[in-house]
Amino acid sequence: MPTQAAELVFDEATKVYPGREGAAVDHLSLTVPAGEICVLVGPSGGGKTTALKLVNRLIPLTSGYIRIDGRQIGDYDVTELRRSIGYVIQQVGLFPHMTIEGNIGTVPRLLGWDRKRIRERTGELLELVGLDPDKDRRRFPAELSGGQRQRVGLARALAANPALMLMDEPFGAIDPIVRARLQDEFLRLQQELRKTVVFVTHDVDEAIKVGDRIAILREGGTLAQYDTPQRILEQPADDFVADFVGRDRALKGLALRTLGELELSPAGGDDGLPRLPADTSLRDALALLIAERRAALLVVGADGSPLGIATREDLLT
């Protein structure tokens, strides 16, 4: 693929499984701009995983088109197509008989890279996903924890520097604390790498946290809404979407904004207010005010210098 990140277009993409009534994915049309994370979310039966697997042709399209940087996926040689797309699944699917290095080097080997280049790339990726390039390289997957295995899965998908990544509930089987950490690290990585990512989850909170855009699919595989997290929370297209994102969508919306985005009133001396850094989400800030029964807080910069005061009303408007 020509560019660092590819634009992905679903154009009336439809999948009907033979012998099954109704479509799994029904005339799905949406565009994922290059370098953005598009989260497919929805109830089971919404066809999110099917839609994902249409892209690397693990499932063949019934009708419609999918294009990567303008080229139809059907025009690629299928193995070539798959080798050019990063693929991460929930159960990771590492090769148990290969070392971590062997696993990460899988696609580069298929592409015929030389040993030295693969070795360098493996070290680079281990470091990137927070593993130890010296110690972990020679270990087998069975020697790693679930979280570490998923990191290796991510590194393996990134190995040949694909312009497009498909991630099917990548953090679904991991406990909540590790999951939150992996999400944060993934977002940090994405800041750097700027891949185009299609990310499937059934967890609305994860979708809001991870997605630049969210596509909500309803039963029967039709698109209910495709929008930024903010707009989905603030202006759900219909009752289904409102219902799906939950009654607490206003609170979820607070999680998307930080104290630094508010207009603060000037700080006047040290008045004993709770101090919070500017990158704290409004949701966490509000939670603190409620817990401490306070009406306002002092927003501070990274160096601890006061930036201004935010009141409870400021947070809520």
Partner: protein, 243 residues
């Protein structure tokens, strides 16, 4: 080395030469080191070499044939049941009867023994190869497919290596059991370690030292083969011992 006929019935076989009629034969105790020393070169060692040969050929050809059959049974499920049933059936034939059945076709030859031995290995090999290949986790296959492995690459680089622990377990069982069954072939043809065993049994008074010596060699051979394959397992599939 010559193929003495030691059949139970018909026609007084030539009694092998037990050397100087020394104390060993006269006393006929359970074990007489003198006899073993004296006849290592002309009886025991050749029998041992023949036995190893019998086993290697049977296991080698048996594995090759099973591998091809297992590929068919693995790729095309419809063939799995009949192929499995056929190898099961071969395994149920009592060995003496099997050798006897083959004699009219292939005569009193090493080939007859090999055919029977090979047939017995099919049962273990076929089952283990198919089971090993089927045991590869679905998510591993999915990620292989998703990363752009061709079908052939998936087989050689993923399915077969992951089936190796089960396949090697089969090699172990088949080898050890072939070493044991191969002694029975000497009921028809003086060949392998079964030769001296049946020879000893054929004596009017059962020559104990020869029986014990040849029997012990068969046991030691089986143990050595077992240990060797166990070592092979460790070397070839280091990952399978984790956890």
């Amino acid at each position: 080395m010559s193929g003495w006929l030691v059949a139970g019935g018909g026609g007084g076989p030539v009694i092998p030469n037990f050397g100087k009629p020394n104390g060993c034969l006269k006393n006929n105790g359970w074990f007489c080191a003198d006899w073993v020393r004296e006849h290592w070169g002309d009886i025991l060692q050749p029998a041992l070499v023949q036995h190893i040969e019998l086993t290697l050929i049977a296991v080698g050809i048996g594995f090759g044939a099973s591998f091809l059959l297992a590929l068919v049974g693995f790729r095309f499920r419809v063939f799995d049941l009949p192929l499995g049933a056929a190898t099961d059936f071969l395994y149920t034939i009592p060995s003496i009867a099997f050798f006897q059945l083959l004699v009219p076709l292939t005569g009193l030859t090493v080939t007859t023994i090999e055919i029977a031995l090979i047939s017995y290995t099919l049962f273990v090999f076929y089952r283990n190869i198919v089971t090993g290949l089927r045991g590869v986790p679905a998510e591993v296959l999915e990620s292989a497919r998703g990363m752009g492995f061709t079908r052939r690459q998936t087989f050689w680089r993923v399915e077969l290596p992951l089936a190796m622990p089960v396949i090697l377990a089969g090699v172990r069982v088949a080898t050890v059991s072939t070493i044991a069954i191969a002694t029975v072939g000497a009921y028809f043809l003086y060949y392998g370690l079964g030769g001296p065993i049946f020879d000893a049994l054929g004596q009017p008074d059962i020559f104990r030292t020869e029986l014990v010596a040849a029997g012990a060699l068969a046991i030691l051979l089986a143990l050595a083969a077992d240990a060797l394959i166990a070592l092979l397992q460790r070397v070839l599939t280091p990952w399978s011992r984790i956890r």
